[in-house]
Amino acid sequence: MYNYSDFDDAFVRARVAQFAQQVERRLDGSLTEDEFRPLPLMNGLYLQLHAYMLRVAIPYGTVSPRQMRQLAMIADTWDKGYGHFTTRQNIQFNWPKLPDVPAILAALADVEMHAIQTSGNCVRNVTADHFAGAAADEIEDPRPYAELLRQWSTDHPEFQFLPRKFKIAITGSPNDRAVTRAHDIGLRMLRNAAGETGFEVLVGGGLGRTPMIGQVVRDFLPVADLLPYVEALLSVYNSFGRRDNKYKARIKITLHETGKEELSRLIEEKFTELRRQFGGNDQRLLADIRAAFAPPVFRTASTDSFDAFYSADPVFRAWADTNLAPHRHPDYAIVTISLKAHGKTPGDATSHQMRLIADLAERHGHSDLRISHEQNIILPHVHKSDLPALHAALSQAGLATANVGLISDIIACPGMDYCALATARSIPIATQIAQRFKTLDIEHDIGPLKLKISGCINACGHHHVGHIGIPGLDRAGVENYQITLGGDGTQTAVIGEKTGPGFAYSEIVPAVERLILAYLNLRLSPEETFLTTFRRLGMLPFKDALYIEKDAHHAA
């Protein structure tokens, strides 16, 4: 894991001191609301519906046990004993009080964390594959590049006032688990014919009001050219991005309006100019960073106990089948700890759970932890012989839900339970769907399914790329939920299609149930997933299930 240099530490502490003074001046009345407004945003602090919210960056989703314990301490000391993990691999505290925020930021600085650039029109937390450095299908750990980008973009003087916020995602695997195609810049590692590593560079992806899948502006960018190329890209965006209309200010609109050819040409031109100026300093820095991400020393031990438990214990087996992913070391597994217990708020962890997970990471997971954009926690390196003990410990804390990748593993943004921008609630929809399918006891039969819910058009819940997406809207003063189908957030990314009119709060869970029952009838075999079935049959049979059956029911 990357450790702060003296420079990093001094920078973060200086920012804490600055903000402490700004808060003091706001509280004593010497700064007005308007004067103060941009300042909290530079430090990740928002005013939400019921309280302030502090958004803390977890760079590329990597967090140490020590940091996790500090987050738990913050939750207990200044919040309500829990934290909410987000789709941008951040953690949000929902109840900080303004006078306490400087102390919270200082506590974060103590463990090399901060909330800088988690809001505002700048380069936000660079997100990465949550299985980075562990996945069996990975070409190379993308995190050294993510850290390089983080250092470069943090407080970068040219890019503090971009036309709009800017999100970068990176993966080192051909199977895209980082939704790179729905980011302003997506970086997907690949090898060229000569076996060298580079990135496919995607630009202009993004969800929200105008959902778009990113387009390839560079088929193969040698890894050594990453920084000058990304700087060129940002610089072109900074000049050409529209500042006159905030709904047209993202780079996806620049791409759309300028055209891919022309935008690529401008980027290449700037890149040629910038590349010379970097002079190899970025590569020296990258070499140092790489050393910080050296893989752990993997243990050699028998995996017999895993096999024995797997065949003897059906509860363990169900969990192993859904929550483990293949590790590049055959004796290891990647463990996803589900923060989606049925009926619980997706992405929330109590301070007790955070501490337990930190302990377990130390005991069984080479002290490595990740936050996934799917709002779960990952132990990337667990020796298979440790899995039974790990599972037992997780069970004690309500953390052994065997549902990763299933219908109850729902992404849900905070929605109108917290978010000031929301037009409807999303959390209670998520908890009700999860509980309903638990009652029906069919989620393992349904198989892989990504259901994603957002509380407004901004799509923080990634609903456009859910196999089933649910955006919540306000229709004439009533909560209303649309449905989109066929979305996909992987390397074969697609924006889901709207089914038709939305459903009322009390109708949306039955609507999802009708969809799923239709799928179970329509699939060719249990192996045909919801998404494959949708791709084979298209919208019609699902629309029938949603609307005709509903009317039939009403007429009956």
């Binding site: 005013l47 519906l49 019921h50 109840w95 109108m416 209670p428 003063g477």
Partner: protein
């Protein structure tokens, strides 16, 4: 449909805690919607809002929200404002915690 008569309350968040507050007729900030001043005159509403905004070291984000007269006093009209009188629906946090 007959146009709804003008009826608003001034609401904001407490600067320090962030909790939702409402302006009362006697110039206090209350945490309870039903104790707010129900303003039925548009010009008066604008004046009350300016008065609220001026209290920059007490509150933040003041605005006028639709309301109507209810049994105990003014009630929210829109569901967003109804949620603001209670707190989130996933935990008994926020205002609703004080009522239990």
């Amino acid at each position: 449909m007959t146009p709804r008569a003008f009826a608003k309350v001034v609401t904001a968040n407490d600067l320090r805690i962030g909790d939702v507050v409402y302006l009362t007729a006697d110039d206090r900030w209350t945490r309870h919607h039903h104790l707010a001043e129900l303003i039925e005159d548009e010009a008066h509403a604008q004046m009350r809002l300016l008065h609220a905004i001026a209290q920059k070291s007490v509150i933040v984000g003041a605005y006028l929200a639709d309301a109507r007269q209810g049994g105990r006093g003014p009630e929210p009209v829109h569901f967003r404002e109804a949620f603001r009188t209670r707190g989130p629906s996933n935990y008994a946090h926020g205002k609703q915690a004080d009522h239990v």
